[in-house]
């Protein structure tokens, strides 16, 4: 039984966190074992992922039930908001590390190797000239084509921007209590997310099959795939979140003035959108 203290809901013990810890740690132990070529690695990792998923469903399920039962007052709602905002900020900083790597390589280390800093180039790779995109001095014989901004990435940009629009229309519909419009535009947003992901998958296929562009294509391949790959994982996660929220919209969990779950996912979706704009400019165009 939960207890409310001065209106603020403080749950009275929960077994989900410890299940989450077991899930996460067995997941990473399995992954590490797998990377080191142990036979058990992949099984332990699968078990860890299964436990973690069980935790996610159970934990969120509990929160949804509590929310629907009306345990959460405005103050709890505000705690969730602070939590989500700063979680998204931490995600921004995670991407910042990879953007930092891209900028450092393009602006500093590759030009230094190419003779902008005479000592570096003389002692490390005398006479090498590298132009971005590059696979590095050790891969001079490697032929590859960079990923252009046209057509797929540009279309994907329009898709994500449109999805930002559709989710906003859905939000307004929710506030105006127009259930049908809300659900239609939520599914439209989900669909746009899925189309984005399929185009992204096709782009990767193209890169590997026809452009000879892989994770091993030096610093260009590394930054290209890690930035777009982590972004794609976030789009995937965002799409799953959108699906859950859409189903909750259909189940009538949200009211015009009480729908933090919806807003949190909308914020997350906008974050994914903004990161993509950064990618589009710095990875594809410039």
């Amino acid at each position: 039984m939960a207890e409310a203290q001065s209106g603020y809901y403080v749950p009275h013990g929960s077994h989900w966190p410890i299940i989450g810890s077991v899930g996460l740690s067995s997941g990473v132990i399995g992954a590490a074992g797998y990377l080191q070529g142990m036979d058990w690695g992949v099984y332990v990792m699968a078990i860890g992922i299964a436990i973690t998923l069980y935790m996610v469903f159970g934990w969120f399920g509990t929160v949804i039930r509590e929310s629907v039962a009306g345990y959460y007052n405005d103050k709890v709602d505000l705690s969730f908001r602070w939590g989500m905002i700063w979680f998204i900020f931490s995600e921004v900083m995670f991407f910042a590390a990879f953007f930092g790597a891209l900028f450092y390589a393009r602006v500093l280390s590759v030009p230094w190797l190419s003779g902008e800093d005479p000592l570096t180039s003389r002692y490390i790779w005398d006479g090498i000239m590298l132009n971005w995109p590059t696979a590095g001095p050790g891969n001079a014989a490697l032929e590859f084509e960079p990923m252009g901004a046209w057509p797929l990435p540009t279309i994907n940009t329009l898709i994500l921007l449109t999805s930002g629009l559709t989710i906003t229309i859905a939000h307004h519909a929710l506030k105006a209590a127009e259930r049908v419009k809300l659900v239609v535009f939520m599914w439209a947003t989900v669909l746009l997310g899925l189309v984005f992901l399929s185009f992204q998958a096709y782009e990767y296929y193209e890169a590997y099959a026809h452009l000879n562009l892989t994770l091993g294509t030096g610093i260009y391949g590394s930054t290209f795939f890690m930035l777009t790959g982590f972004h794609g994982m976030h789009v995937m996660l965002g799409t799953i979140m959108l699906i859950v929220i859409t189903l909750r919209c259909m189940a009538g969990h949200f009211s015009a003035d009480n729908h933090f779950g919806f807003e949190a996912v909308a914020w997350y979706w906008h974050f994914v959108d903004v990161v993509w704009l950064g990618l589009y400019v710095f990875v594809y165009i410039i």
């Binding site: 990879f98 696979a135 892989t214």
Partner: protein
């Protein structure tokens, strides 16, 4: 209400093992963090004893050099991520809701998770000691390409760091939500105790840099297993780039380990000087300035690595700028004591030692900030002496001071003041015997992270080792006093200390399981 009956299905206080496993109570979680931190303090301390035993005399006698390197690396990782950071989070958990008059932390279930990730992460990290190739041995900074030569342990270490990062980020988010949302209505921001302020700023540092560390170690992982070239010059990458990304995390990280210490000392000195803190607002602004500066000084860890001259100069001047807000703080602590009715109980003694000894660490930091001089000091024992003055006599002394200060509030019992003072004098004397000679060793050219050394360094190393063993043994007294306070008989009053002011001293000792169900009024 039946929807949640599968949580914990009773009204009275939970007991037994599951109480600690499932708890969402900020005091229980604070206790867990503090006990975990104490355990890691002794684990990391044992590793330090191995290091000092090997360095007692020149030559190789106690352990083989490869194991020695594992000890230096693991000692750092355990002390930073296992002892100091969780100790501060534990103090935040216990004290912030009490200090701001809130019923609990803002996100209680996530609070439990932040803690319960840590024992798993450290089980993984410590298990690497028994893996083929041993634990990480290339330094806690994990520089490539050396770190990529680690044995089986490599991915386990990377993932353990990921888990610690997840724990820290969740803990920080919780602190921010608690401070902004759980304050009593009359507790305005500029009335908050300084410990709360320093933790708020620390939480922002954590959220900003722990993900960057996660990114850096992820790049190490993909360089090793997935063919990327982030840190490989042959692929157009740069190993120095790792150092930049790492220290973009690493420098704010050292302030993460000292800002809450400033907060603790700013609570203790006014209590025992029986005067309000001098320059409260300037303390808040100084803390924020230090936090801001921490983001633009990272490359002072890398002066010798090769950087454009403009970079060397920028990072040198930016680093020296930190002395200004830090000087404001030291001045304010001293001014608080000026003409105060001072008494010298154990927490105050540790806080005073903090002010003096942390300042010594600050001065050696200023010496290291001078880029041309740093070319001489870099990677010597001078650096080791510097960061142990700020981390041991700084962060750890503040944590010990905080524990002695709030322990009666947690347990409801006093500890022996005489033994507390004995612990203080033993610790303070031995810690200086331990670390002060390392300045001389470093200036004379002894390199760090080396198990053997030239014979002219013998005398100071022996003295340093004797100080180390003494300091290590003295901490058993700390353990004894904590147990004494938990099992004690001398009951503490609600206020505990005559001059103590603040909401945490208005609830009984020990603080009841639930406090401030109705918000208090702050004058």
């Amino acid at each position: 209400m039946t929807a949640t009956t599968h949580e914990v299905g009773h009204h009275d206080e939970p007991t037994g093992f599951t109480r600690w496993l499932f708890t969402t109570n900020h005091k229980d979680i604070g206790t867990l963090y503090l006990l975990f931190s104490l355990t890691m303090f002794f684990v990391g301390g044992a590793m330090a004893m191995v290091i000092r035993a090997e360095l007692f005399q020149p030559g190789l006698q106690v352990v083989d050099p490869y194991f020695f390197n594992q000890m230096t690396t693991m000692h750092a990782l355990v002390m930073i991520f296992g002892a100091v950071m969780p100790a501060f989070v534990g103090l935040a958990n216990w004290m912030i809701p009490l200090m701001v008059g809130g019923p609990d932390m803002a996100l209680p279930r996530m609070n439990n998770w932040s803690f319960w990730i840590l024992p798993f992460a450290f089980a993984i990290l410590l298990s690497t000691l028994f893996m083929p190739g041993g634990a990480p041995a290339g330094g806690w900074t994990l520089y490539p390409p050396l770190v990529l030569q680690m044995g089986t342990a490599f991915p386990f270490v990377i993932f353990a760091i990921h888990l610690m990062g997840i724990s820290s980020i969740m803990g920080a988010i919780n602190v921010i939500a608690t401070i902004f949302n759980m304050r009593a209505p009359t507790m305005t921001l500029m009335k908050m105790p300084l410990f709360v302020w320093t933790w708020l700023i620390t939480a922002y540092l954590l959220i900003a840099v722990m993900p960057v560390l996660a990114g850096a170690v992820t790049m190490l992982l993909t360089d090793q297993y997935f063919g990327t070239s982030f840190f490989n010059a042959a692929g157009g990458g740069d190993p120095v780039m790792f150092q930049h990304i790492f220290w973009f995390f690493g420098h704010p990280e050292v302030y993460i380990m000292i800002l809450p210490a400033f907060g603790i000392v700013s609570q203790i000195i006014p209590t025992f000087a029986r005067k309000p803190l001098f320059g409260y607002a300037s303390m808040v602004y100084a803390t924020a300035s230090i936090a801001f500066l921490s983001f633009i000084v990272w490359a002072h860890h890398m002066f010798t690595v090769g950087m454009p001259l403009a970079g060397e100069l920028f990072f040198m001047y930016a680093t020296m700028l930190i002395a200004v807000p830090t000087g404001v703080k030291v001045f304010n602590w001293v001014a608080t004591m000026w003409r105060g009715a001072m008494t010298f109980e154990t927490p105050m003694l540790f806080a005073l030692a903090f002010v003096v000894l942390f300042t010594i660490g600050g001065f050696s930091g200023l010496m290291l900030a001078i880029a041309p001089a740093d070319f001489q000091y870099h990677d010597t024992y001078f650096v080791v002496a510097h960061f142990h003055y700020v981390l041991v006599t700084g962060a750890v002394f503040a944590i010990i001071a905080g524990v002695y200060y709030w322990l009666p509030k947690w347990t409801g019992h006093m500890y022996s003041e005489a033994l507390g003072k004995a612990h203080f004098w033993l610790s303070t004397i031995f810690v200086n015997v331990l670390f002060f000679p390392q300045h001389f060793l470093g200036l004379a050219g002894m390199p760090r992270r080396i198990p053997d050394y030239a014979v002219q360094f013998t005398d100071w190393n022996m003295i340093s080792s004797i100080g180390g063993f003494g300091f290590g043994l003295s901490q058993l007294l700390f353990l004894y006093l904590i147990i004494q306070s938990i099992r004690g008989t001398r009951n503490a009053t609600a206020q505990v200390w005559e001059g103590a002011k603040g909401l945490e001293w208005e609830v009984p000792s020990p603080a009841p399981h639930h406090t401030f169900d109705t918000p208090p009024v702050v004058k």
